[in-house]
């Protein structure tokens, strides 16, 4: 009875297969919020503050009210509503005080875009400019301008986030492991280095678009380009005091998110305009300028790292101060400060670790979730730091990493013990170093004349990330059989391009043993009809959605077997489900097709049993704990995905221009679920990482006004920026609680790309650059400065 059965049919996991959304997208048939129109729809436009910090003295909407076609006007004075995912610090429209140039202060809904825009222009607002602070380090000074003087009165998620009264600190995350003083005492040498990251734009090609309608009976209907339908619903319900059932959020195809659409953005404003306009739906489409200037960015970061090391390279102590430039509001910023701190030493064994991760308010565009959730920013510092130390000690950057890297039996800085199935950063590093021939690199000296002309350099960097998510994060899925034994998978994680649905199709088709073409993972997310999922962020959807789908498949199989057992007169444990059939294992001809029982089975005499097969599955993160507020110790990580990059560049010392010759990337993904989706996530993430490395960053003038809110002066990578060669390596150390052993890899490819490049520049020239981006001007100036010092 217990002869193991292994099917060779419908083995899709690890394979390829067409994207489920490809045909819609290549024909132009895919509908995004961008083109959605609903009956009676009005168009909304937003007015923003020209000042970084100012008191609103007077608002006059009388001229705007006279514009033909205007149906609603809102200002902060008329709309007293506060929002916040974790810190309730932002009014939907600036009220009394505005805190960044670009902050929304008024909005109009009208019959046409033109009328709405015209009316916005005619709203008169008088401001009294106030002193402002733009740098997070300056904002920490005792006498710094207070961005939120009433911080101590704000509602916030208590016990998780700790705003510091009478400061600009929205949150202070601490990691305290071991004995930091003893650690430094043990060190042979101590180094202190600084690094900076500018704020960066998500730049999805589809901007934020929302349609919201205030329905009678205090209900809301929202159609939005977003990543997390249930988060939108939840925040709505809380903010507007509605039962969850009264809020319906639908998400069609989404033109990119990268974290910028993870939370709640234009939805409340659109809803309020609709309410004001007598319940007519209101559509707000962010212009590209607004996408850059008004909608939140990736936080900037300033890092101070103090490291104690033995002469052989072993780290004895690590003390880090992360100063996050949260901008004017905390949004996801506090969570990034928290999450990145738990990763804040990199994938290394650090027995004595002290991290202070401070999320600091400034009068600039505020930060939100961004692919990598602080890890690219943190690892810029951590990986550059390690290379600098290696060089100072006369050690090989590869060796110093292998010496300190996390291995089975070691413990992370949050006290998590590494098991044999956590993943292998050491193997990832080995693969990329070999791929780019790291042994054979330039090793430019750090003294004497700088090299001239075009020079080459190689750099390596490690990375790690676990999903930053609440301890209760869960996912659920419904799988319903259709009459022809095809299935619809209903799941409300959003596939906004990362291809998770195509991976889930591999899982569902294999688990149910049906052709992949018969799996329809439904692209319209709808909180009214689909089961709960937390958010589509954090590289956790394939894992949690995969597990939920497997659970739902098991439920389907159980229902199939329950009916089949009766019809075939065999016990359920003797039945096999394979290739759209359920049969008695030892007499395979005795069986039924799925089709025969998909919506109920009918006996020849007409008796019908069973009913529609609808599978239900769920998965909740197992065993996570809160982090100790003082020490940061606990288990916050569902899983860890480790990775590494090796990069070879060619640098023109005359201009500072960099061409990327090769990037080799390796990740321990546990198990590849869909080869193409895995590979293309890496390709896309690496190139997006190159943007952060080479030229991306917001610039502000001395009054805090954004200088580059357009593609003219905020450049993102084009096809010409792709390296001459990119390779991807995948290690598969199974994640025991992942679907088929899989982990996520959505965010990871862009992390540590800038680090590898900074290390390669050092290899090529002997010059250390500590600030991003590595633009041609910044590199040139760094070389010029070094030349002066070294050749004088």
């Amino acid at each position: 009875m217990s002869v193991p059965y292994k099917s060779d049919k419908h083995q899709y996991v690890g394979g390829n297969g067409e994207r489920l959304d490809a045909i819609d997208k290549v024909t132009g048939a895919a509908v995004y919020a961008h083109e959605m129109v609903v009956p009676g729809m009005l168009y909304g436009r937003i007015k923003v503050s020209p000042y970084a910090h100012a008191r609103i003295k007077r608002v006059d909407t009388s001229k705007a009210e006279k514009v033909e076609g205007v149906r609603a006007i809102l200002t902060g004075a008329t709309l007293d509503m506060i929002l916040g995912l974790y810190m309730c610090d932002r009014h939907i429209l600036g009220r009394d005080v505005v805190r960044y140039q670009g902050e929304q202060v008024a909005a109009v809904a009208a019959e046409t875009e033109f009328a709405a825009r015209r009316a916005c222009e005619l709203i008169e607002i008088e401001y009294e400019p106030l002193p402002a602070v733009f740098d997070p380090e300056e904002a920490l000074a005792d006498d710094a301008v207070r961005v939120h003087p009433d911080l101590h009165t704000y509602n916030h998620m208590r016990g998780v986030f700790f705003p510091q009264a009478h400061t600009n600190i929205a949150h202070h995350q601490k990691i305290r492991k071991g004995d930091i003083e003893a650690g430094f005492a043990q060190a042979d040498q101590i180094f202190e280095h600084r690094f900076t990251n500018p704020p960066v734009a998500h730049a999805p090609i589809e901007t934020h678009v929302t349609i919201a309608q205030a329905l009678p009976g205090r209900r809301a209907h929202i159609i939005t380009s977003a990543q997390s339908p249930f988060t939108v619903r939840n925040l709505f319900a809380i903010a507007f005091g509605m039962p969850h059932n009264n809020v319906r959020v639908q998400i069609p195809y989404v033109g990119g998110g990268f974290g910028g659409k993870a939370g709640i953005h234009l939805e409340p404003l659109a809803y309020c305009l609709s309410r004001q306009a007598g319940g007519r739906p209101v559509k707000i489409t962010a212009t590209r300028e607004e996408e850059f200037n008004v909608l939140p960015s990736r936080q900037g970061l300033k890092t101070i790292i103090k490291t104690g090391v033995k002469n052989d390279g072993r780290i004895t102590a690590l003390k880090v101060k992360y100063m996050w430039d949260a901008g004017a509001y905390a949004d996801y910023g506090v969570n990034i400060g928290r999450a990145a701190a738990t990763s804040g030493a990199g994938p290394y064994v650090v027995d004595n670790c002290w991290i202070d991760s401070l999320v600091v308010y400034t009068n600039k565009l505020y930060g939100t979730a961004f692919r990598g959730f602080g890890h690219l920013e943190v690892l810029w510092g951590v990986e550059r730091n390690l290379d600098r130390i290696a060089h100072a000690l006369g050690l090989n950057p590869y060796e110093i990493r292998q010496k300190n890297v996390l291995r089975t039996g070691t413990t992370t800085i949050t006290g998590e013990k590494i098991t044999a199935n956590h993943g292998r950063p050491d193997i990832c590093l080995e693969k990329v170093a070999k791929d780019i021939g790291f042994e054979d690199r330039t090793k430019a000296p750090t003294t004497g004349p700088l090299p001239k002309g075009k020079v080459r350099g190689k750099g390596i960097a490690l990375l790690q990330k676990s999903p930053a998510m609440p301890v209760f994060t869960s996912c659920s899925a419904f799988i319903k059989f259709n009459e022809d034994a095809s299935v619809n998978v209903l799941i409300s994680g959003v596939d906004y391009g990362q291809g998770t649905y195509s991976s889930l199709a591999n899982i569902v088709a294999q688990e149910l043993s049906i052709p992949r073409e018969k799996v329809n993972v439904v692209y319209d997310c709808d909180t009214a009809t689909q089961p709960y999922d937390w958010q589509t962020v954090a590289s956790r959807f394939q894992v949690m959605g995969g597990n939920a789908c497997i659970d739902a498949c098991h439920d389907c199989i159980a229902q199939i077997k329950q009916v089949a057992a009766q019809v075939l007169r065999a016990p359920e444990h003797e039945l096999i489900c394979e290739d759209e059939r359920v049969f008695v294992r030892h007499t395979p001809d005795q069986g039924l097709s799925y089709r025969e029982l998909a919506i109920g089975y009918t006996y020849p005499n007409g008796n019908s049993i069973g009913g529609p097969i609808n599978g239900r599955g769920k998965y909740i993160a197992q065993g996570l704990t809160h982090l100790d507020p003082e020490t940061g110790q606990g288990k916050a990580a569902l899983d860890w995905t480790y990775g590494a990059h090796g990069m070879e560049i060619e640098l023109d010392t005359e201009t500072g221009e960099i061409e990327v010759i090769k990037i080799a990337s390796a990740f321990d993904v546990g198990q590849i679920i869909h080869e193409g989706m895995c590979r293309t996530q890496v390709q896309g993430g690496v190139v997006q990482g190159l943007g952060s490395a080479l030229f991306e960053g917001f610039r502000f003038d001395e009054r805090g006004r954004m200088l580059n809110p357009s593609f003219v002066d905020y450049k993102i990578p084009t096809a010409k920026d792709v390296p001459r060669e990119m390779t991807q390596h995948f290690v598969e150390t199974p994640q025991l609680d992942g679907p088929f052993g899989a982990r996520g890899v959505g965010e990871h490819p862009m992390i540590s790309i800038p680090s590898a490049m900074g290390n390669a520049i050092f290899d090529a020239t002997g010059v250390d650059i500590i600030d991003l981006p590595l633009s041609s001007e910044n590199v040139y100036m760094a070389l010029k400065g070094a030349r002066k010092t070294r050749e004088s």
């Binding site: 030229f695 580059n708 084009t718």
Partner: protein, 274 residues
């Protein structure tokens, strides 16, 4: 915003519209610059006059004496595709090919590039060293101006409100003349110039001329004739770096612009020797 749209089919009709509308009219050639200005409310005309209905303005002519002219609606890609520009006048099509994107160049015109007088205009330095002239017309009145006389400063030209640039005339070049163009950008993809420069080498007249853009309100011309027989890259770079008046802006600092001008000039002289 609401404006009227006219598409005259003769230059006479065009002039009539301009006389009437004056400063209330905007001229539309390729529209790639104009539409950006309309979107940003930098311009609010009552009337937009589309020049693309006038056949005469769409012509490219290569005259027997070796000179060339092209009308106001000639797009950049047509200049690039025209092999006859790839001789002594080569800096012009090269500059065009480095300008904007292929897609934009299917619409953007050289005349528009000049008439908008953005300091970053890529076609301007080559046209300066080539000695090109713009032809301005108002009704039957015609005048020609060399580019440095036409462009006064940032987005400022001497074009009167009732005038339009009908054509650009590039004189015949001396035998053996070669021209070169280089542009420094922030990225490998499409970008405005941080610095751009054109070099002319005329062995017959022993002329060595450089024009530099994006580093001053108007194009800067540098005469290096005195070193024609023995071009000195360092000295040439030094003179050009001194001649420009760059600003620091979101794209680049003064220092980087100056240094990159030097690099461009040195590299142009290398191109010459190659």
């Amino acid at each position: 915003m609401n404006f009227a749209y006219e598409k005259p089919t003769t230059t006479k009709a065009l002039s009539g519209l301009l006389e009437q509308a004056g400063s209330g009219a905007a001229l539309l050639a390729g529209g790639t610059d104009l539409l950006g200005q309309l979107r940003g409310r930098l311009l609010e005309p009552q009337l937009v006059i589309d020049l693309k209905g006038i056949e005469e303005l769409s012509l490219i002519e290569h005259h027997e004496d070796g000179s060339a002219s092209f009308g106001a609606t000639v797009v950049a890609n047509r200049i690039i595709d025209d092999k006859r520009f790839h001789g002594p006048m080569a800096a012009l099509p090269i500059a065009c090919s480095r300008s904007a994107t292929f897609t934009i160049r299917n619409r953007a015109t050289i005349v528009g590039n000049i008439a908008n007088a953005s300091p970053c205009a890529d076609s301007v330095p080559p046209l300066c060293v080539l000695g090109a002239e713009v032809e301005l017309r108002a009704g039957d009145e015609v005048r020609r101006l060399a580019l440095p006389a036409f462009i006064r400063g940032v987005r400022a030209t001497v074009r009167k409100k009732n005038e339009y640039v009908a054509a650009v005339h590039v004189p015949a070049q001396a035998k053996g003349t070669r021209t070169f163009f280089r542009k420094h950008q922030r990225v490998r993809g499409h970008d405005l110039a941080l610095a751009n420069a054109a070099l002319l080498h005329d062995p017959e007249g022993k002329r060595l001329r450089v024009a530099i853009g994006s580093c001053s309100p108007a194009p800067v011309l540098v005469n290096l004739d005195d070193m024609f027989d023995a071009p000195d890259a360092e000295e040439a770079a030094r003179r050009c770096m001194k001649a420009i008046l760059p600003i620091s802006d979101v794209r680049a600092s003064v220092e980087y612009r100056i240094d990159m001008t030097g690099v461009l000039v040195r590299r142009l002289l290398s191109d010459l020797q190659a």
